[in-house]
């Protein structure tokens, strides 16, 4: 099973951080939300999502809490930490710079 390459992986981290920025969410909801907002363009596979979540948690950017889900079952909710907020800002800035640069290249070529 090939692991996502660095670019994609970094991007997935950004997407996750951004998605849970407003409120804590569990894994399923995160995947769904990303799918929805991107108009079904970005399909996050479980195989990428959960390792990414656990990695972000180990990095100290997000923190998990067990709480009751909307269906009444115990689920693991992920929330941004202070460090995570900073990381999100940084990655957002990075992404903006990168995508602007790519736009320029594509438009100019």
């Amino acid at each position: 099973m090939a692991k996502p390459n660095d670019l994609v992986q970094g991007t997935l981290d950004l997407l996750i951080l951004r998605t849970i920025a407003p409120e804590p969410m569990h894994g399923w909801a995160i995947a769904k939300r990303i799918q929805q907002i991107s108009h079904e363009v970005l399909q996050v596979q479980q195989g990428s999502l959960y390792p990414a979540l656990h990695r972000l948690e180990q990095q100290g950017w997000i923190r998990a809490k067990w709480a009751e889900s909307e269906t009444g079952r115990q689920a693991k909710f992920y929330a941004l930490t202070a460090a995570g907020k900073k990381q999100l800002e940084e990655e957002t800035a990075n992404w903006n710079r990168l995508s602007a640069a790519i736009d320029l290249v594509i438009a100019g070529a």
Partner: protein, 882 residues
């Protein structure tokens, strides 16, 4: 802040792995349920919804693995798992595990012991402040004939006064003193050192009690002072602090004890019992001579000065000394060695050769275990293939193999450390000629070395079989394992290569050991020129008190000899100054009166030996020409000498030496001595050719230190007591030292050679055994693998002899390759030990032939059994085992 968080997470993941695993499980479960619920909402049936959800979910095991990997403990966990599996696997075949552990233990133990020795003796710095700047200084000859000559007092004086490269320079000499008995203690001869006062400050030693020497103690006219070693103080004076300031009798003279040395100070060796100030002990005349080489010199380099600079400066000074003293044995160059090196360079080659040998042994042990593991891997290749097919990663299989072999190496290492401890104890007790032996112990570097050896062995033994296994070709392996009639070719080849290397290393070891052993035999078989059996020797030194005049000494000698000769069991007895076989000791330069003066700068040199008239008969040194010394040639009428054949050969070619005269200013100043006889050569340094020697009449009476040699009938050690009683009867306060039989004297001087040879031989035999086991194992394995094939061939009518021949050929091929490899390598390696050899060339054909023969015979024996078994196979049985 984030760091704290991260560490907290890590710890939590580690401490609550089980709970976290459960949580991961329910998290994924929750996700799956959500998916199912969504699928059902989209109108699927329950079972269908579940199937679809699972499909889109992928492999949950892999997902779990990947998530857990982020926890950071996965590697460790897997390692723990592998260790458990490895231990279980090994426990299932305890025979194999035990053999492997023992082999490893031997290899690692021997290596750790030798490494400890090399490190403690050769590498560990001396325990002095900034010991790296301490150097030993020797006189040398610019033409290379001398490298490490001891130093003359005059040269030292010049160096010390003029050399700018040193912040200090001290001189010392080893001595033996008679320490008088007090109370009920017996007198004893003690090893001692005499040194210039500045030696202790130079080394950075402070007294444990009292003070050390001052410059005012270190003068001819000063009061006699002595500093005691910690050991002597404890042993002889019961650690009484009141001894400082009191007087003790040394050589029947009164010395004031001024201080006690600390317990850690055991330089130059632990035998030294006391120290005296050198310029007080030695005559001012001696200390200004440039010809009399007597002393060791230690210097401390000034900060920033390199050894090359210091050496250049001293060499210039010494050249100048030579220019001013063109006559006599004055050296014209200087040789500097780091102080550690100066003490150990003589045994260096031997120790490194042994370390090399143990290294080879360990490598062989590793290869052997790798070999066994390859065989095991072969029998387990099906298991590996199945695991690969089920998705196990290749990395995982390799890791398992390496972990398994590391467990073996680890267990072997622990056992090996115990071995090493034992080997070290034995080494230290047998090799008392090793300098700095008191400091031999294991320290952190040894532990690190042992760990490195364990890891290295584990990796080597594990990686060879793991990396070369063909588990990538899963299908082939699975198919091959189904029918095994011609399987495992690749592995068999690998094992043959390993074996060839093993045999090659063994050959190198055997040849090295063979050369040393032969050299040792030559050494012992060499014609020494004197009686070696039934001879007892002992040494004594007459103190100045009571033996002030030549007459007094002569009277003692004559009485001693006549009483000893009349003892029952004594055949003959004699007195000399140096027991033959003990080394060169003293030599002096002389001139031959009848010869024209020598060109400037050239000198004649001969060993200085004293003998009583009966000495040659007692030692069975044959008289070749002329006559021996006579009892009437005594005191002032002793102007005669006897010389040896080597002196005649070298200095009187084609000339009759009898009646010629020599002058030796160093022994009998202003006298000309007539040569009255020529005796046979004796080999005083066993490994070297005989030196020219001159025997002066002991009855001149001017010698104080003498050695008594007694030749008896039968066991002479039984004579030791009666002879000592005779001495006590003459002078109860005279201590006797080194009561040894001639065999013991010679044994001591060949100890190093015998030791190196025996140990290397032991290692070589061990490796031969390992190689034999390896050969046997490989061939047995090949026979087992080809059972079906052989069965078919026998069934089809192949003669059994042919089967046997073929199996033998298969088994012997790696041995032959190894032999060729080893012989080639030996040619290069043996040159390194050339300096250890005596009367043996590094390419001694006899050794090469014997080793090759032995190896072939042993290899054939090892192969015979499996080959024979192959030829006896019952075809029906063989085919049925399928």
């Amino acid at each position: 802040m984030r760091w704290a968080e991260k560490i907290r997470m890590r710890l939590q993941m580690f401490l609550h792995r089980g709970r976290e695993a459960g949580r991961l499980e329910s998290e994924l479960e929750f996700h799956l349920e959500q998916q199912i619920a969504e699928n059902r909402a989209a109108g699927m049936r329950a079972e269908e919804a579940r199937q679809a959800a699972l499909r889109s979910f992928g492999n949950p095991a892999v997902l779990r693995e990947q998530a857990r990997e982020t926890w950071g403990w996965n590697g460790l966990e897997a390692l723990g798992r592998d260790a458990r599996i490895g231990t279980r696997t090994l426990l299932r075949s305890p025979g194999f595990a035990l053999t492997a552990i023992l082999v490893m233990a031997l290899g690692i133990g021997a290596n750790v012991a030798l490494f400890t020795l090399v490190r403690s003796v050769l590498l560990r710095p001396l325990p002095f402040a900034e010991a790296g700047r301490l150097v030993g200084i020797f006189e040398a000859q610019s033409d290379g004939s001398y490298q490490d000559n001891i130093v003359a007092g005059g040269c030292f004086g010049v160096w010390k006064e003029h050399a700018q490269s040193f912040s200090g320079m001290a001189i010392d000499d080893s001595m033996e003193y008679n320490l008088a008995g007090s109370g009920n203690q017996l007198p004893e001869v003690v090893h001692a050192e005499t040194a210039s006062w500045n030696l202790f400050p130079l080394l950075g030693v402070r007294p444990a009690l009292g003070r050390l020497f001052t410059s005012s103690d270190d003068q001819p006219g000063a009061n006699a002072t002595v500093v005691l070693s910690w050991g002597l103080w404890k042993r002889r004076f019961g650690s009484d602090p009141g001894i400082v300031g009191r007087n003790i009798l040394i050589d029947a003279k009164s010395y004031t004890v001024v201080g006690i040395l600390p317990a850690w100070f055991t330089w130059p060796d632990a035998e030294v019992q006391l120290w005296t100030p050198l310029y007080h002990e030695k005559s001012p005349f001696l200390m200004q001579l440039f010809e009399a080489h007597n002393f060791d010199v230690v210097g401390r380099l000034r900060p920033g000065v390199t050894m090359q600079q210091a050496s250049a400066e001293l060499n210039a000074l010494q050249r100048e000394i030579r220019r001013e003293h063109p006559d006599g044995p004055v050296n014209d160059a200087v040789n500097l060695r780091p102080l550690v090196d100066a003490e150990t360079y003589e045994i260096k080659t031997g120790l490194y050769a042994l370390l090399g040998a143990t290294g080879c042994l360990l490598l062989i042990a590793c290869l052997n275990i790798a070999n066994l593991l390859v065989a095991r891997a072969a029998t387990r290749s099906k298991e590996g293939a199945i695991r690969m097919a089920l998705g196990g990663s290749r990395m995982r299989l390799i890791r398992e193999q390496v972990v398994e072999s590391t467990i073996l190496a680890g267990a072997g290492g622990v056992l090996g450390m115990l071995f090493a401890e034992g080997i070290l104890r034995w080494l230290i007790s047998t090799r008392d000629d090793i300098p700095r032996a008191d400091g031999i112990h294991m320290d952190w570097a040894v532990i690190a070395f042992a760990l490195a050896a364990i890891l290295g062995c584990g990796l080597l033994a594990g990686l060879i079989p793991a990396l070369t296994s063909r588990d990538t070709q899963v299908l082939t392996t699975l198919q091959e394992s189904g029918r095994s009639h011609s399987g495992g070719r690749g592995r068999a080849r690998l094992r043959q290569v390993l074996l060839a290397v093993e045999v090659g290393l063994t050959v190198v070891l055997l040849i090295g050991a063979g050369l040393l052993l032969r050299s040792y035999q030559q050494l012992r078989a060499a014609d020494l020129g004197f009686a070696q059996h039934n001879v007892l020797t002992m040494e004594m030194s007459l103190p100045k008190n009571g033996y002030r005049t030549d007459d007094q000494r002569l009277a003692f000698f004559e009485q001693l000899l006549s009483r000893v000769r009349s003892l029952p069991g004594v055949e003959a007895a004699g007195l000399t100054n140096v027991v033959p076989g003990e080394g060169r000791h003293r030599d002096d330069v002389f001139i031959i009166k009848e010869h024209p003066p020598l060109p400037r700068g050239q000198v004649l040199d001969a060993l200085t030996r004293f003998a009583d008239p009966g000495y040659f008969e007692a030692m069975q040194i044959p008289l070749v020409e002329g006559r021996s010394l006579e009892a009437s040639e005594r005191l002032d009428h002793a102007q005669v000498v006897v010389v040896n054949r080597e002196l005649v050969r070298e200095y009187f070619p084609n000339e009759d030496p009898i009646g010629r005269h020599i002058e030796v200013s160093g022994v009998f100043p202003d006298q000309s001595l007539r040569i009255v006889g020529v005796v046979g050569n004796t080999r005083d340094e066993l490994a070297l050719d005989p030196f020219p020697a001159i025997y002066y009449p002991l009855y001149s009476g001017d010698q104080r230190s003498v050695a008594l040699v007694v030749r008896g009938r039968g066991r002479v050690s039984a004579l030791a007591l009666p002879v000592q009683k005779v001495i006590a009867g003459l002078d109860a306060s005279l201590p006797v030292a080194n009561v040894l039989t001639m065999e013991q004297v010679l044994g001591e001087s060949t100890l190093g050679a015998r030791f190196d040879a025996t140990l290397l031989m032991a290692f070589a035999v061990l490796s031969l055994l390992l190689a034999m086991v390896g050969l046997f194992g490989v061939l047995s394995f090949m026979v087992a693998q080809r059972t079906t094939e052989i069965g078919i061939r026998i069934a089809l009518g192949a003669p059994r002899e042919q089967i046997m021949r073929q199996m033998l050929r298969d088994g012997l091929r790696p041995a032959l390759w190894g032999l060729a490899l080893g012989l080639a390598a030996s040619v290069g390696v043996t040159r390194l030990i050339a300096s250890l050899l005596f009367g043996t060339r590094p390419y001694d054909p006899a050794v090469f032939v014997v080793v090759s023969g032995t190896l072939l015979v042993v290899a054939a024996l090892a192969c015979l059994m499996p080959a024979w078994r192959a030829s006896r196979l019952d075809p029906m049985q063989a085919l049925r085992t399928e």
